[in-house]
Subunit: 462 residues, 2 copies
Amino acid sequence: MDHLSQVIARINAAEAEIRTRYFEFLRIPSVSAQPQHAGDCRLAGEWLVSELKAIGFTAELRETKGHPAVVAHHPGPGTGTVPLLYYGHYDVQPAEPFDLWTSPPFEPTMKEGRNGPVTVARGAVDDKGQVMTWLAAMRAWHEVAGGPPTAIRVLVEGEEEIGSPSLDAFLQEHAAELRQARAVIVSDTNMWDPKTPAISARLRGMAYAQIDIFAASRDLHSGLYGGMALNPINLLAKILAELTDADGRIQLPGFYDGVPEIGGNLDAAWDSLGFDEKRFLGDIGLSVPAGERGLKPLVRQWARPTCDVNGIWGGYAGPGAKTVIAAEAHAKVSFRLVGDQDPNAVLDSLEEFVRSRLPADARAEIQRFSTAAPVVVPEDSPEVAAAQRALAAEYGRPAVLIGSGGSIPVVESFRRILGLDSVLVGFGLDDDQVHSPNEKFDWASLMHGARSHARLLAELAG
Amino acid sequence: MDHLSQVIARINAAEAEIRTRYFEFLRIPSVSAQPQHAGDCRLAGEWLVSELKAIGFTAELRETKGHPAVVAHHPGPGTGTVPLLYYGHYDVQPAEPFDLWTSPPFEPTMKEGRNGPVTVARGAVDDKGQVMTWLAAMRAWHEVAGGPPTAIRVLVEGEEEIGSPSLDAFLQEHAAELRQARAVIVSDTNMWDPKTPAISARLRGMAYAQIDIFAASRDLHSGLYGGMALNPINLLAKILAELTDADGRIQLPGFYDGVPEIGGNLDAAWDSLGFDEKRFLGDIGLSVPAGERGLKPLVRQWARPTCDVNGIWGGYAGPGAKTVIAAEAHAKVSFRLVGDQDPNAVLDSLEEFVRSRLPADARAEIQRFSTAAPVVVPEDSPEVAAAQRALAAEYGRPAVLIGSGGSIPVVESFRRILGLDSVLVGFGLDDDQVHSPNEKFDWASLMHGARSHARLLAELAG
């Protein structure tokens, strides 16, 4: 039996061990956005360092201005091969609202899902479960062959869910060490469907900001002051309403600069995927696509920009009636971006858009939380070809080249700072409830993912 | 020395005792809107029953469908006089946001204010402090003359701050007992300024509702679903924005039906009050009146309807960025009403306004929290004349007849159900921060109020 066959057999035999380690990782509430979880973020990083050391890596936690990053090295078979760089993130989204979870978000629980058993937990797929796929593959290679068949670098950050604020500086600081790689392997994307593997060839960018509107110096009685005092919630609603027109077109001046039209081969290729819009929307209780009118669904998801209010608050939100005019109002707003849209220019435009709509007595602050440029990765590299062979062998059908509506800002950073292209091979599904209550990861996806990564390592053997 | 002079002297001598009782009352966190304070509401009612019994009333707590009401009787000098009915409310607004209070809201604290000492606490003026003014007057009459110089009924409810949902039924049930009165005396309004007493001749009405918008069956990742999934916060913002036009005119169909123009004598009388708009707005950190354009400030406050969003929430409101499309969004919206506007018709129109703007996949619920018709009280009754004499004697200057932007729904109920007009004589000031953090009541206002009520009782002696 060749090494790969033994590695695959070893992964299949290790199912219970993989679950034990995966659950340990999921139990650490490494929510990067919430200061009270800073210690848990470090703990998740330390857990990874220990895992990597156990399978022959030199590994350590490295400080950033925020949560620490994990960096690890494995020489592979020692033949001077150019390493692969594996990237992932150990941080997770906030679990709120807790009351909508059917089991505690940091107590991973096996349940029966639509396609078989699933693990329910925050981070089940994004990104702890996906990181687990390649960790399990590397462990099996270690156990069977004493190590992976190629040199490997690992970089796992702890700030992806807050927009990777420290990562660019970190990559610059460690560029000499990290840029010596053939490509970056990233598992943080989805399959096409439970049976069809996919390689993501394009990711939308993002620009995320918080708008804070301030008016009176204190909360006011709406009877005594109503009709006299500026209401910042009414004002915020007007500003947010004007961000899009009745056809869903975003109204920031210059917003559509750099948004390409999709046509020709790409349009035909996407059509051939036979996307089931009705089922996609039906799964989330909807029936009609929102946003811009008259677009094909995959163009809408992968190749058009968006504007979503991600959160809003102000005034009284308790039970019953409180007749108050609030002193302030707040909203979190994000834009998904495509083509050559510049996230910083979008936020500049947002800032001007808000300020130009402020009446006397209103004041606004715009907090910028994260920006990421859109990315299109090359579809014809040797690494993409290797991934296509590995996935086809594992699933018995070809992998499709898809887009993703989400953003993985680091992919753009890898290209800009390290000069490296990424191979985005991920095992999530659209119904995984990523960022929502009851996030899950199909157990079959995790095991397929582990075997796929084992095969990819064989394909890319130094 | 006649009785009145002795009563006034007694009030002045009892300052410390008045404060002790007042502080006891303020320490009870009788927040009617919050279920966890239901027991405290009952406690506040029981405290009043005990106070009233101590000064010769027969008094008891009477159940309603919500918080209980206090009803008390005093026969007065026993000469078969027609009683006066005193109305107040023991419930208070929620104290949130707690972190903006400079002292705990239910720990009354004396501080130095702009016009001398003030008491800071939730309910300091609205309405516990105002109730205290007539309780102190009645106690002094009890101590000096064995009781008030006229028969008295007292009705203090515990649901005014949530729109008095049980009061109409309560008045109907006890109509035979309560309608035997000359007039209702209500202290829940403001003075013109710290030196000028006022009788309020008109109150705005109110209609208050909560709009709940529902879209997808769960929270969604804004990358995977952005551009496909309906965002209920974006939708809510658009609906709220359309409630008013750029000139501040409210856009509900039929909304302005029944709104009278203000002209002639009334316009001249209000002009003569010399309202200082600049100071009124400057006190709350503003400089320009909001809402409808081109109106005189007192017309704007007393005689025009409004639309204010009192609260809004949805999606993620924690620190940092969470890329979520929420499943639901919520707002509390209220309208102040004037003239012959019908609060139920306004809420019907709101409901239709919202429903007609819902795209496919969105669902709305409209919860109606309270309605109150606008009120204009007669300015030429013997009781108003008596109040003018009492206030002029206490303050050394005539009382002015003013409007109020706020609503006291019970005034309309008294007229409709009991056939009784009200005399609205209150001692609040515009800067009392009613319904806001750091609510206060000037100590001088409380003492003036107590003496004014003592004088009013003498004026209305059976």
